[in-house]
Amino acid sequence: MFRAVCIALCLSFSTVTLAEIAGFPFENEAEEERFETLASQLRCLVCQNQSLADSDAPLAQDLRSELYEQIQTGNSNDQIISFLTGRYGDFILYKPAFNARTLLLWLSPLLLFIVGVFCLFRFNLKSRQEPEGEVSEADLQKIRELLESETENK
């Protein structure tokens, strides 16, 4: 029973996003799939943390119908994306393009990882090479005295 309720709940939530996309009559599933993929990869510029597929903003609706029309006229995904980035900039892409300007953005995690691994090995090896605990006789004597005074106090 509980499981059935859970499934029902999940299904009811999943229809929310579908309902946003619905309203455009597609001739075949491939086109509809393209539409849904594009709409979920593009950012709504009004509510910036939502995709075009999720947003109810009037501009998102307009951009969805723009997507629909361009798919209908047979434009490729690349054509549609360059149409939108030409007007709204790279910001409309949730996944930034890989180019000279975004090189650092894409490669910095790898770079940091390499630096991290380098530091890890370097410092680890160094500490291993260091001779272990060479304590001078004078220090040892002092330690003994301290320990003794500790036990005496108790």
Binding site: R87, Y88, G89
Partner: protein, 191 residues
């Protein structure tokens, strides 16, 4: 104090342990500056591009059409507005003052609205526009990369977009940003 022979070796190493703190501080400064930035201000790819084309019926005279060609000849402003846009109402008195200063012609793009409402607005609050084109379905605004009315473009005498202002223009914006840009465009010094 135990082994003075090791001291010269250890000294150059110590500064290394400051690095994480320095990196952390730099990161915090970057984040702090980031907090103060307005995420709504997006760089427009249209800067230094020719104004996108349009051919729209005029709000006040729907039999006449206006196109991007009206933007050529001298520097101008193109302001995207609507009566349902609250910030446009805030901005409107500033546009009236700019129009009264006669520094620059203001053209309007009347965005996703009803003609009767637009006419009533201009009658009630005054008309700062030389002319407004009616973009009732919002198609042209997409070509202009609009994402939040009001938006205002500074266009040079060749019809090239030189600057974009997102949100209502305040009198300070006009005096400190837009007017100097227009003056430098008029002086022919380019950007």
């Amino acid at each position: 104090m135990s082994q003075p022979t090791e001291d010269p070796k250890e000294k150059p190493k110590r500064w290394i342990y400051i690095i994480p703190l320095v990196l952390f501080s730099v990161l915090m400064i970057v984040f702090f500056i980031g907090l103060g930035l307005n995420p709504r201000l997006l760089p427009s790819p249209l800067i230094d591009q020719p104004a996108p084309g349009f051919n729209l019926a005029r709000l006040k005279a729907p039999d006449e059409m206006i196109s991007q060609d009206v933007l050529k000849g001298e520097p101008s402003l193109l302001n995207i507005w609507a009566t349902w846009c609250v910030s446009c109402r805030v901005e409107h008195p500033v546009l009236m003052k700019i129009a009264a200063s006669k520094e620059v012609p203001i053209f309007g793009l009347f965005y996703k609205d009803e003609r009767s409402k637009g006419l009533a607005w201009l009658k009630d609050y005054g008309d700062p526009y030389v002319a407004s084109g009616m973009d009732l379905d919002g198609k042209i605004a997409i070509d202009w990369g609009l994402y939040g009315a009001p938006e205002t473009f500074v266009i040079d005498k060749d019809g090239v977009i030189r600057y974009k202002h997102v949100g209502p223009i305040t009198w300070d914006d006009w005096q400190n940003i837009l007017l100097p840009k227009i003056k430098s465009l008029r002086a022919g010094s380019g950007v």
